[in-house]
């Protein structure tokens, strides 16, 4: 069935899948956001244990999604993978370090004889939450603001500055997205605490901090989006494939793709609604509204970056080196093979849903932290 699709259709399909993975990743970064709040919300050992354990049962989903996001990008748009990872070396390396220290921290934190002490592993979790969210936000923002590379006729890339990606941190628009993601992750983390822990003290504190974090999130998000819609974008000429600057490019993209417009709108409303029901209606289900809202919003932003004759990884060093989903993708054959594999995705989502429900059936409480029957972090 996929053989009949054109190369472009396959490229679009895979951009959609990669975008969806990216969107799910941002939602699942509620784990990272939660990690930055362990000491803010948990004032005693047992309280912190509840927070760490509720996140600890989910951290692997986020981690695996990140790994799969990277793998899918490599598979479908290898020129992005080779250009960005090999060029923006330092940004990606720092992100990776932040995830390495996360992966051991849950398991090692409460174990006796763990060399560095529990506190160190809690700091690791905090660092992961802080750096992981902000730098991933900054890295994704370069999809709109551009990066500093050249690509030669053999498709080999060179980075134009020895900062190797750190220059992205000097761009205010990039930073706005980084901080937006950071506060969004904290908002989602708090909503997840509210949803998954059965404890009045933690609930009250979570609601209070939800308010404090929602305000910077909303302000930063609005700045990022308005700025995005007003800025010039890297457009691609359909005929010549030449890249040129187009004023209000992303606003134009939004208008030319009404479905994306609707998805963005519904997404933003969903995120806000989740926050509001948790604050005002005392609902514990805010995470689902905000979560689905996050997925729709981030998905729409990715689609704005890649669809409608837009360069998704523009180069401001050499505009004609800019990457589009067409010039950076895998061959038609490979994309076709991978598309068949993608048919397994609903099945994967199905068993994740089933296992998630089985584990979350009972909320975490103080008693469970004393239990000998289950694995405690």
């Amino acid at each position: 069935m996929f053989e009949t699709l054109s190369h472009l259709a396959l490229q679009q399909y895979w951009w959609l899948l990669v975008s969806l993975l990216g969107a799910l990743l941002v939602f699942l970064m509620f784990v990272q956001g939660g990690q930055t709040l362990i000491y803010t919300i948990g004032k005693s050992e047992v309280e912190r244990a509840m927070l760490v354990n509720t996140l600890g049962r989910k951290w692997e989903f986020t981690f695996t999604t990140l790994v799969t996001f990277g793998g899918a990008f490599f598979a479908s748009f290898p020129l992005f993978y080779s250009t960005s990872f090999g060029g923006a070396y330092w940004v990606w390396m720092i992100i990776l370090f932040a995830f390495v220290i996360q992966a051991v921290s849950y398991e090692f934190r409460s174990r006796p004889n763990n060399l560095f002490g529990s506190k160190t592993y809690e700091i690791f979790l905090f660092v992961n939450g802080l750096i992981g969210t902000i730098l991933i936000g900054v890295a994704v923002a370069t999809f709109f603001t551009g990066a500093n590379f050249y690509i030669n006729e053999m498709n080999q890339s060179h980075w134009a500055t020895s900062l190797h990606g750190l220059e992205a941190l000097l761009n205010l628009h990039n930073l706005t997205l980084g901080l937006t993601i950071f506060f969004l992750a904290r908002v989602l983390g708090l909503l997840y605490f509210i949803n998954s822990i059965d404890d009045d003290v933690l609930y009250d504190r979570s609601v209070k901090h939800l308010f404090y974090n929602a305000i910077p999130f909303v302000v930063l998000f609005l700045i990022f989006v308005v700025w995005l819609l007003l800025r010039d974008g890297f457009a691609v000429n359909n005929e010549t494939m030449m890249v040129y600057m187009e004023p209000f490019k992303y606003w134009h993209n939004l208008l030319s793709m009404p479905i994306v417009f609707i998805s963005l709108f519904v997404g933003v409303i969903g995120v806000l609604y989740g926050i509001v029901v948790a604050l005002i209606r005392k609902s514990t289900n805010g995470i689902w509204f905000s979560g689905i809202g996050t997925v729709l919003t981030v998905l729409s932003l990715f689609l704005l970056a890649g669809f409608n004759n837009t360069s998704f990884y523009p180069s401001y060093a050499d505009m004609q080196s800019s990457l589009t989903i067409e010039n950076s993708s895998s061959s038609k054959f490979t994309l076709t093979v991978m598309s068949y594999v993608s048919l397994l995705i609903p099945f994967v989502v199905g068993y994740i849903y089933y296992a998630w429900r089985a584990i979350n059936k009972r909320k975490i409480d103080r008693d469970e932290m004393e239990s000998k029957e289950i694995h405690i972090y």
Binding site: V67, T68, F74, I352
Partner: protein, 529 residues
């Protein structure tokens, strides 16, 4: 050839070796222990015996500690292809990416979803569902290994692809050729069963310690029984697949094969060096006067010829035959390969240059890249072209650069094989003694089992040294050298990340060992559950 900073290549290699070897400290135990746990839990579910549950949970706890650090060291590798081997990742992305994406979709999620059920589901889901989750974790972990090993096998023996001069990369034309390449199948079986053997040794070694300390004796003996049976089956499969792996290497990577045996001069009825001590370590470049320099060697007559070609009289080419060529046996010299590879590289360059200037020539060149005779004569040596030099003297010395470090490859190979035999013997003895219920009387066996734990890790790492050092200088056999694969970043950046990884991973390893040993001392009773 464009100038590439040698220290950049060396540091990038060092970093990849460091991170890959650290990752491989933890992966084999995950691969094998996941199955051992699944066997144990199956017995528990079948018999309802709570002691089996306790046994299962003890090993599961150690599994969890090991798994976490395995995940931590693994994420680096996936991204390192891009960060440090950027040119390589473009050149092969069309082939390599697909297995990696499949791995993410099929295996990683299976593993990470069901591992959560395995650890946190004991009182939340039914016994049957829990057991299923344990099995799916084991299967997921091992499927994870499948795809990355398929990709690795492809680099050793590239098949199922075609070069596209427009994109300047390899493109997949047959997925099944990639998946079912003989190298991929033997590599997958050999690697996963090596993990099974490692885990069996691990469980038997720790159980021996319990018996020596006279603690948890029932659990220890039961664990030994399960693991020695598993170990015997795995060892036999390991040896058989190692054998077929060796034949693949003899066929597709003859220089590596010669290096594994430190065979400089080709021979018919070639003997296999069973044990050997090389006098001078050959780290300097080899020349045509280099001879083998064994201080001691014990040989098995005709065995190498048989091992390589299933024929005790077959000719096994030595390093010098392969580099200098041997007309009697139809072996092309490396100089000739360099010249042909250079023609292929120049054709690609000209193809790019004529794109806008000379349509006719451009089209003619394009046709070459689909002409199977031209591809077979010139393009298959594409990577060799990087050693071309107008000065024939330089080119002659360059020819020997296709030889990997001989001593390291030789020792790693022999250590792996000898230790492999030791493990099988140990499993057989342990199984026998457990079955006749006298194992605790044989302290020497218990001590040997305990001290075999470090040996199995050494054997396991040696296997990868043979595979990865032995194939140098190629990152993709005959098509791309390691030097051409590297990302163009300043070597100081790589040095810094190398040091950061070395410090971080070493720290985490020490922490992991501390936790692991503590948990073993605490035993199956308590400790976080």
């Amino acid at each position: 050839m464009e100038h590439i900073d040698l220290s950049l290549v060396d540091w990038s290699r060092a970093q990849f070796a460091l991170t890959a070897m650290y990752h491989w400290v933890f992966v084999p135990l995950t691969l094998g222990l996941s199955f051992i746990i699944a066997f144990m839990e199956s017995i528990y579910v079948k018999t309802g015996d709570e002691k089996w549950k306790k046994t299962t949970r003890f090993w599961m706890k150690l599994f969890g500690i090991n798994f976490a650090i395995g995940v931590a060291t693994g994420i680096i590798l996936e991204f390192e292809f891009g960060t440090n081997w950027s040119n390589y990742s473009w050149f092969v992305g069309d082939i390599f990416g697909a297995p990696l994406a499949i791995e993410g979709i099929m295996a990683f999620f299976m593993e990470s979803t069901f591992i959560a059920v395995m650890f946190f589901g004991w009182d939340k889901v039914s016994k049957k569902f829990h057991l299923t989750a344990t099995w799916l974790t084991a299967i997921g972990a091992n499927i994870s290994a499948l795809w990355i090993l398929v990709a690795n096998a492809w680099m050793q023996n590239p098949v199922g692809m075609q070069f596209n001069p427009d994109t300047a990369r390899m493109e997949m034309v047959n997925f099944w050729d990639v998946l079912y390449s003989p190298s991929a199948i033997s590599k997958f079986i050999h690697t996963t069963t090596s993990g099974f053997v490692l885990a069996a040794v691990f469980v038997i070694g720790i159980s021996s310690w319990f018996l020596l300390k006279k603690r948890h004796q029932l659990m220890a003996k039961r664990s030994m029984l399960v693991s020695s049976v598993f170990g015997i089956i795995a060892s036999i499969t390991l040896i058989v697949s190692g054998d077929s792996s060796a034949r693949d290497i003899a066929k597709y990577q003859p220089v590596k094969f010669a290096a594994m045996e430190a065979l400089y001069e080709g021979k018919t009825q070639a003997p296999l060096v069973a044990i050997g001590l090389i006098g001078k370590l050959n780290y300097d470049s080899i020349t045509k006067d280099t001879k083998d320099d064994f201080l001691i060697k014990i040989e098995i007559p005709n065995m190498l010829s048989y091992l390589a070609f299933m024929d005790p009289n077959a000719f096994v080419p030595g390093i010098k035959d392969l580099v200098l060529g041997n007309e009697d046996y139809n072996i092309l010299s490396v100089i000739e390969k360099i010249k042909r590879g250079y023609v292929a590289q120049q054709s690609l360059k000209l193809y790019k240059e004529t794109e806008k200037t000379d349509k006719v020539l451009h089209e003619a060149l394009k046709a070459k890249f689909t002409d199977s005779q031209w591809l077979n004569t010139y393009f298959r040596y594409f990577g060799y072209g990087s050693y071309y030099d107008d000065d024939s003297k330089i080119m002659e010395s360059n020819a020997f650069k296709v030889v990997p470090p001989v001593s390291l490859t030789f020792y790693a190979f022999h250590l792996m094989v000898i230790l492999g035999g030791h493990f099988l013997l140990l499993f057989l003895i342990v199984l026998y003694l457990v079955v006749i219920n006298r194992i605790e009387k044989y302290k020497i066996v218990l001590y040997t089992a305990l001290w075999t734990i470090p040996l199995v890790y050494i054997a396991s790492q040696s296997g990868w040294i043979v595979a990865e050092v032995g194939r140098q200088p190629w990152v993709i056999q005959d098509l791309m050298t390691t030097m051409n694969a590297v990302s163009k970043i300043d070597s100081s950046s790589v040095i810094i990340t190398f040091i950061l990884f070395a410090v971080l991973f070493t720290g985490l390893l020490i922490a992991e060992l501390g936790i692991m040993i503590k948990q073993i001392k605490i035993g199956p009773k308590d400790g976080g559950h």
